[in-house]
Amino acid sequence: MNFNEARDLLWIASIFYVFAVGFGFASTFFSKNSFCKQATLLAIVFGFFLQTRGLYLRGLEISGCPLGNNLERIQFITWSLILTFLILRLLWKLNLLGSLCSGMAGVFGIISLINGQWDHPYWMESTYQRLFSDPWIELHASIAIFSYGIFALLAIVSGMYLIQRKSLLSKKSGIWGTFLPPIHDLDHSAFRLLLVGTLFLTLSIVVGGMHWVHHPEYVTSFKLFITLLLWAGYCILFFLRYSNRLFGSKFAKSAISLFIVAIVSMGFVNSKDRNANISSIPVQPRNGQ
């Protein structure tokens, strides 16, 4: 185990997140022991610290924001998810949400680490140049990925809404229903997360767009199309919810579907225009970055 090796740190962070899920569920469903509650938060904080250090070390290796391959992007999204949760945790006690967030971070983290191809060492290639030659593009990418973290949290909150709703409609006391937050609160939280996430995504598109106007050759048409489609999707979802035309279970399902589209599209979209002169192109992360 090397604490100066990014992958090792990301592995330990994922294991801490998995521990957090175990402690979180144990404290929620089986024991009211305060140790489990404290252990959940501690595991999340430790995991977050190690993940931050892992991404920092990877950033030093590539001399930029680590968003060059699938592993880095997924780790950055889960890092954003946990960061958003920790900020919210300062305001509200959200133990079960913490368990679900760390669950998602743990599972996605482990999947990204197990799949070796997702961590292609692009920075070792002889043709490698600094990932982001322009700091504005780096800012654009990091804000976009951060917005993905918020959308991940929105998807989790929407999932909680659907579970609570199903539990209420089934007319049984149900183990989940008792511990999940009220659907009214979940609906409000989802709306606020959608607002914040959409604002961040819009900001990243504005920043990226300013660069794209001067260097349109850097971005493929497909990436542009998918990015704008996703952004439009979240904007439409926001306005439908704002005007009370889409709410409740339909809104929750739409939020989850859009997040799945966002994650899946990451794997298909390459920001680099292969026809452009490679030496002059800053390699960009995919989809909305």
Partner: protein, 367 residues
Amino acid sequence: MGSNEYSKSLHVLGSSHHIADLAVREKISLPQDKIDEFYSGLSALPGLEECLLLNTCNRTEIYGASSNGFSPDLLHKYLSDFREIDPDFLSKHSYRHSGEKVVRHLFEVTSGIDSQMVGETEILGQVKKAYEDACDRNVSGKMLNRLFQKGFQAAKWARTNTGISKGQVNLGNVLCELARRIFGKVSNSRLLVIGAGEVAESAMEAFRSRGSQAITVTGRTFDWCPLSRRKPDELAEKFGGFALSFSKYQESLHHFDVILTSTASGRSLISASAVRLAMKKRPSKPLFLIDASVPRNIDESVAKVDNVFLYNMDDVSLIANENLKSRMAEVERCRNVLSKKAVRIWEQMTHHAIPSTSVSQSTASSS
């Protein structure tokens, strides 16, 4: 107070819902105005150094600490004489414990596993009140102080570490719990009660106790409600709510978060179209409807409207029963742990010095 703590023992004589029905309990229970007199005679019993009376609607229990040589029969005789009831009748409807079994019994009482409604928390408050009363009268000493302090700790342990208090079992509380799962704070949700049946009263009481300030009652007639024999406006006044004219409630549905019907009317009082209209005015805010009437007062198709949650009495009773079952499943586990705790506490109280005086004598034939 005796100087030698080691030679003391504990006793309890009591009658509860387990062994006596309501009519019997009424005969044994002590009227409030007789408590002073009862205590003065009780504390004068020879050999009884400390005493405490727990007198609730479901149980009458006398706890005592004594020097060796005290006969628990004296407690029995004193109570039967005081209440002027036949000693054999009292024997048949009462139980007696001594020594460690008193500790165990008190632990079971304070934790709520001995209560009629398993896991209820009201009993703990009643025991605390009885203990404070005994302290004020200077009839509780070292033994009983320690016993009851440990009893309060045991109750806290049981509620924290077992599921005996998990889930609501009272219908009004079940409704409040459902409302909490939909709206969050019950105090912020607006309740409309149509009719004034017993369930309505129970729900209003539960909502009121959770701080709900917006309770409205309406009824077909303000003169008399056949179910509760109460006027809706009287009911509104009792719970600090408002009375609404029956002709206005249909057009006001959208103002309320929780609507409960509890009438004897045979016709539908809330139709699907009325709910759809109301939901248009509050599209993103859920509506919780409870139909506590037989025959039902709310159109069943209302449940298909988005963001509307419709429950009838069968649904609510099912949840209450499920919760009760899950509490019952925890009782045995709780009892075992409390029993071990009682042994330990009793050993500490007696400093391992006196031989076991854990003679339990239940005079009830089957208890």
